[in-house]
Symmetry: C2
Subunit: 455 residues, 2 copies
Amino acid sequence: MSDERDTHESHVDPFSGQSVSGHVAPLRLSRKAQLAAEPAVTRLIELALGQEDLISFAPGLVDEETLPDADTELACRAVLGNKELARRALQYGTTSGLPGLRRALAAYLTELDARAGVSHEFDPDRIVVGTGSQQLLYLLTQVLVDPGDIVITSAPDYFVYMATLEGAGATMWGVPLDEHGIVPQALEQLFRQLDHEGVLERVRLVYNVSYFHNPTGVTLSLKRRRELLEIVRRWSRKHRILIVEDAAYRELADEPEELPPSLAGLDETDSFVALCQTFSKPYAPGLKCGYAYLPEDLVEAVVCEKTNHDFGSPNLIQHVMLELMERGAYARQVERLRKHYAAKRSILLRALAEARRKLNLPFRWTEPRGGLYVWIVLPEGIRTDSESALFRTAIKHGVLYVPGEYCFLGIRMLNPNTPLGNASNTIRFAYGHCPLDRIEEGVQRFARALADVAP
Amino acid sequence: MSDERDTHESHVDPFSGQSVSGHVAPLRLSRKAQLAAEPAVTRLIELALGQEDLISFAPGLVDEETLPDADTELACRAVLGNKELARRALQYGTTSGLPGLRRALAAYLTELDARAGVSHEFDPDRIVVGTGSQQLLYLLTQVLVDPGDIVITSAPDYFVYMATLEGAGATMWGVPLDEHGIVPQALEQLFRQLDHEGVLERVRLVYNVSYFHNPTGVTLSLKRRRELLEIVRRWSRKHRILIVEDAAYRELADEPEELPPSLAGLDETDSFVALCQTFSKPYAPGLKCGYAYLPEDLVEAVVCEKTNHDFGSPNLIQHVMLELMERGAYARQVERLRKHYAAKRSILLRALAEARRKLNLPFRWTEPRGGLYVWIVLPEGIRTDSESALFRTAIKHGVLYVPGEYCFLGIRMLNPNTPLGNASNTIRFAYGHCPLDRIEEGVQRFARALADVAP
């Protein structure tokens, strides 16, 4: 850390002409700042930058081919070209977000669940708009988690949010996943164990990326959703344990009609789930606009803290997003992305199958029906971490992946092995950013690296 | 607070057909969330909404007449109409902000200080772009202040940041202001007192709105700037005390060539000042784009925490802001606003003088040469608080002001009386949002209220 700096310098003040005392005492960072660590991915990015002609399956970026420049330009013109609307969009807004956008989002969430057969009326007054869904995850953590509190995640899970939890001083316990999402029996067992240890009272959140999970791509099945809600309700003895449902990839489904309803929509009590969504994945990250639907008794605390953060995310962006929803451009972009990412994933999965056939190596992967990630599980004995022979060989062959270890970082587990592998034999392949016509070549390079290191 | 809720409901689960246990346990908020309070201004806003034909000098909003719709539209088109640029603007950016914008901002800060006769090279790598300067104030507080630490403010001071400090669990000590800014002798005396009490080690920040201070409108003089730097350096014994220079109103000067250099520019060691500026006041709040220039050894901690908050403010907005700077539209808007607000203030000050002459009441006010605020000091005995006869009478006459008490809230002082009045006999008049042709009428209404309650 940089708080050890202690420089000795000597200067002449240009106004007084006097020599300035040269001793500069070091800064002392807050305890919170001392907890925060350089994100692990920084090293990956450095590696990627140092290599020419690299095919990268690492970053969670979206495909630049698909970015909706024309529609966004039209929406900006519609907002800023209308004197009355422009004035409102360029003035301060409210902390919780543009009322019209919150109404549109409530109707949208209601419609998404209705398509899945659930009638749940989402209330605009319980929606908060933020700077990406990340800010909403941060705010939720901040208003509910004290240092030493427990947050239950999946194992593996989304490493950016895990760094946020680490920064909040939370203790993370991970529940294994299989192809239907987190395993309810394992969640139940974990609660029993925590209760047995006398720390049930410290469990505050259960975090769940419920559609096309990052990094595994799996979707929590309808049956599992009901079980998760039931388990969390039952263990909410003296205080309510909140499910944070991160549905960032919800719209990127090959077959939207196959999707289960949200956990929020299934919660009859309407109080156990905070549902976070975003426009970053299904529209464009550059607008950095996300939103959360909150239990009624959590809205005030989140808005209050957001007032301290920024008293509201950019108003102009919110007006533009509302315009895009109203003119149907948002829905069109979602359609376009669904098909585009399905095509990319299909190439990726075919190339993986081809590689396995040629290599005659028993490795496996998830077969998601949406989202941006495929999760690869290698045979025990082939390590995937950033110090491993495979990782280094892959870079030498010109392909970069995220080692599974990053997705388990800091997570405690009752059993380090899961139905989807463990921290040392797994890989996340993100096909969002990599150009469509480079995917096959990328997998072939990966296969060559695998051939080099396989026993 | 809402964490006491404990509802009993009974439902039938639509999938299982089973009755859902009706008990919903209450949420338990974090200690931090329990510290956060409903902002005091919320009550003002409610009051304002309930009254027709109200002339409001309360909100810190900008004048809607002046909002730069056409220039912003052109900049959006320039960014989004260029395929290559559009793709970059709609993709994720970096946490610290668009490199091109940070370079432009560093050059801009260098130029502003050069105009004031100081040669200080601002380094783009030490600039962080955020969601308004409020986010940067929040991040600085978060990485430097632990609960129980001391932050030295002015008294009175900017109440939104004071709420942020309250939420961080900071103890605030206020230093009085006169027409040249905070009084150095009083600051020195406070440091001596805190040292005497053995709590010098807990002093982390000195917060200073150094140009056209909110709420008083005073600008810290060049001489005082040097004194402030010298005092803070001298009391930074074991750790460095950071000056947070909030220069939100810097550009809104009647005579820019009269402005003193920034504290950051005057700091020869380049390590005692974090300078925060924004596009909200000198361009448009709806873009919600601010920036900070940080001591070298603070950049990593701030960026790390911002990564957890949102991993970067909206990229599109930053591209648009850069475009506006490059095409000169930003500079033109600043020119326009300078003149517009000077004209409004001149009407306000003339009307106040006229009212005083007619009332024959010895009240006084600051005479700022820029910014958005005038501070009024009434004779001892006329109370201004939100429960006072004056406040209620003013609303009855159709005019709203911010009671001075809000600008002293939570601030400890060695002496509650200052050269600019105290918590019970002062008023902030904000002339930003009020239409130009309503100002005189607003002051007349205020004068009628004053006549009603004056002894």
